[in-house]
């Protein structure tokens, strides 16, 4: 039961490691960015999971329903900001990949390294 209760957090951990593995193991720069996005998405899930109150509804205060139980809105707001940051990072990353492909003619990390003579 405890395992099921922590279901979200297991998904978080698996996603986090999947993303990290993709970032480390792939040489294609776009795939690295995909990995990075999965990695960040895992953290969004962590924040969204922690704000859930059992039996709680959306945090909208309604006059005809006094004393209603609602989920904590703060992590949702935080993660909205983090999602925006994530999108900005991803788009900047993609823009750099475009420039790299123009400058090197490839987006494979090992080929770029070879061309730079590292």
């Amino acid at each position: 039961m405890e395992f099921l209760g922590l279901y979200n957090y297991w998904v978080f951990a698996v996603l986090l490691m999947t993303g990290m593995y993709a970032v480390i193991s792939r040489t294609n720069l776009i795939k690295k960015l995909i990995g990075m996005t999965i990695f960040q998405a895992a953290v969004f899930l962590l924040y969204i999971s922690m704000d859930k109150v059992e039996g709680g509804t959306a945090p909208i205060i309604q006059a005809d329903l006094p004393g209603q139980l609602y989920s904590n809105p703060l992590p949702q707001v935080l993660i909205l900001t983090a999602i925006v940051v994530g999108i900005a990072t991803l788009s900047l990353g993609l823009a750099i990949v475009v420039r790299i492909s123009e400058a090197y003619g490839t987006i494979e990390e090992d080929e770029i390294r070879e061309m730079d003579g590292e």
Partner: protein, 495 residues
């Protein structure tokens, strides 16, 4: 004046943040540069007044939008943050003063206004990290400054800049995301994001394990951002291939800002709450710091490229700062924090000298600048003096913090005396790698004959102003030392 002075912590962020779109709208490179420089100098003035305010009246706090902490976002400036603000705004101002000439060769004139916009955003982000007292707010500022820094570095003239910045982007994002995970875990257990409130509430948590995990995530994430060995892989190429003026800016301040957040979390938030945390911190960081000093210096010995050499030396200097901090004593922390300031002065001056050489030389390798002392005598002389400060020769700023580091190590008896070995070894290696450049510049045969090609006088005056500050703070070290020792006392007073 009084009405304005209470808003100083907010102005520190708002001035560059508001000038950033202005620079983009001006569209003309001269005007955009003037706006950026004026804004950066204003920020420097704000930082100086904050230092004065902190020294006279202690902690400066500011409730953003009049929402009181812990519910609203609180800006806090103490001695530690005041010193960091001085480093950030000073580095930005010095670098911008030379940027107009230096960038002319590196970035197309019709894009420079956008470049200055990114610069101001980076400045706003770095200042924001330092003044903010809210964990999530720090994350947002961290990402603002990082994204802007990626743009600045990608402006480098060679294509390797792009590969370097991609690596930095991936590693920087992983570091920031680790930090975010850590903050999330602490929030889960405490329900607060305000650092001071966090500190007061962690002990109420029913289980300390998530907080311990959070400590790990935050420490590793920030160490990645601060390029602590062995997480430094992004740094050398990023410093090397960035435009020269950007190298001055980021090499002088960006890693130090992340070290600042690292120390703030580990000492302010976790020290009193997690039993044995500081001992774990020390046991984890001390070997890394020693390794950073030895490794960074050793690689710098072998480097041929001038900027690459200075970048690896920066990794070693980060090691010195961390070494001081991981001794967890008043003297050690004072040494580490003062070294942030002194290293910023020395490395800023060295990169400024490189920027000056960049006006005459295309390839900045050691063979490439051979004979530079005859073509640009003032730049070469400045490089020598700044190099002496980096090595830590008495009479220069670099000596003061290294001296304190040695004193701090000696406090630990014979075991501590062993720590002096890497400190001295690092300095000896610094003598050698700085000498390699000096030897080439003064005694090397110039590959191409050329007459005097000294950098423009205003670049030289900025360079020499920073060099003279190195000497001034070597003889009159009271300002950074007092701020550093107050900061160290505040960091330790938590158990």
């Amino acid at each position: 004046m009084n009405a304005l002075s209470i808003h100083l912590p907010a102005l520190q962020v708002i001035i560059p943040l508001l000038t950033a779109p202005l620079a983009a709208l001006l569209r003309q490179r001269g005007l955009a540069w003037a706006a950026a420089t004026a804004s950066s100098l204003c920020s420097l003035a704000v930082a100086v007044s904050l230092v004065a305010a902190v020294r006279n009246g202690g902690l400066q706090t500011y409730a953003v939008g009049s929402w009181e902490a812990p519910y609203g976002i609180e800006l806090i400036v103490d001695e530690f943050s005041a010193l960091l603000l001085l480093i950030v705004t000073g580095a930005s101002s010095a670098a911008l003063l030379v940027a107009h000439t230096s960038l002319g060769k590196e970035i197309a004139a019709d894009r420079q206004h956008l470049f200055y916009t990114a610069w101001l955003l980076a400045l706003a982000g770095l200042s924001g990290i330092v003044v903010s007292g809210d964990a999530f707010n720090i994350f947002v500022f961290m990402e603002i400054s990082s994204l802007a820094t990626y743009i600045l570095i990608a402006g480098g003239p060679r294509r390797q800049a792009l590969a370097a910045v991609f690596r930095y982007l991936i590693m920087g994002t992983i570091g920031a995301t680790f930090y975010l995970i850590g903050v999330g875990l602490v929030y889960m257990m405490t329900g607060t994001l305000n650092l001071a409130d966090m500190e007061a509430r962690i002990h109420e948590a029913s289980d300390l394990k998530p907080v311990l995990v959070a400590g790990g995530f935050i420490t590793v994430g920030l160490a990645l951002k601060a390029a602590v060995f062995p997480l430094h892989a992004w740094l050398p190429n990023a410093y090397t291939f960035a435009p020269h003026s950007v190298s001055v800016f980021i090499a002088a301040c960006s890693t130090k800002v992340f070290l600042y957040v690292l120390l703030r979390f580990d000492f302010f938030v976790f020290q009193g709450n997690l039993p044995g945390h500081i001992m774990q911190f020390s046991g984890f960081m001390l070997p890394l710091a020693v390794a950073a000093v030895l490794f960074g210096s050793a690689i710098a010995l072998m480097e041929k490229d001038l900027k690459m050499l200075l970048a690896y030396s920066s990794i070693a200097q980060i090691g010195y700062i961390l070494l001081g901090a991981s001794l967890v004593s008043a003297t050690g922390l004072t040494a580490g924090i003062a070294h942030m300031f002194n290293h910023a002065l020395a490395k800023g001056a060295l990169f400024l000298a490189v920027a000056c050489m960049g006006t005459a030389y295309g390839v900045l390798s050691i063979e490439g600048v051979a004979g530079a002392a005859r073509r640009m005598p003032f730049t070469a002389a400045a490089f020598v003096v700044a190099g002496l400060s980096l090595i830590g020769i008495p009479g220069t700023a670099g000596f003061i913090s290294k001296w304190y580091l040695v004193l701090a190590a000696l406090e630990f008896g014979p075991g501590g005396a062993l720590l002096i070995a890497p400190v001295l070894a690092g300095s000896v290696m610094a003598v050698i790698y700085i000498w390699k450049v000096v030897e080439a510049a003064y005694f090397g045969e110039a590959p191409v004959a050329g007459g005097r090609a000294e950098a423009p006088w205003w670049m030289l005056s900025v360079l020499w102003a920073v060099v003279l500050l190195n000497l001034y703070f070597g003889i009159q070290p009271m300002l950074p030392l007092e701020l550093a020792s107050e900061a160290a006392a505040a960091l330790l007073d938590r158990s």
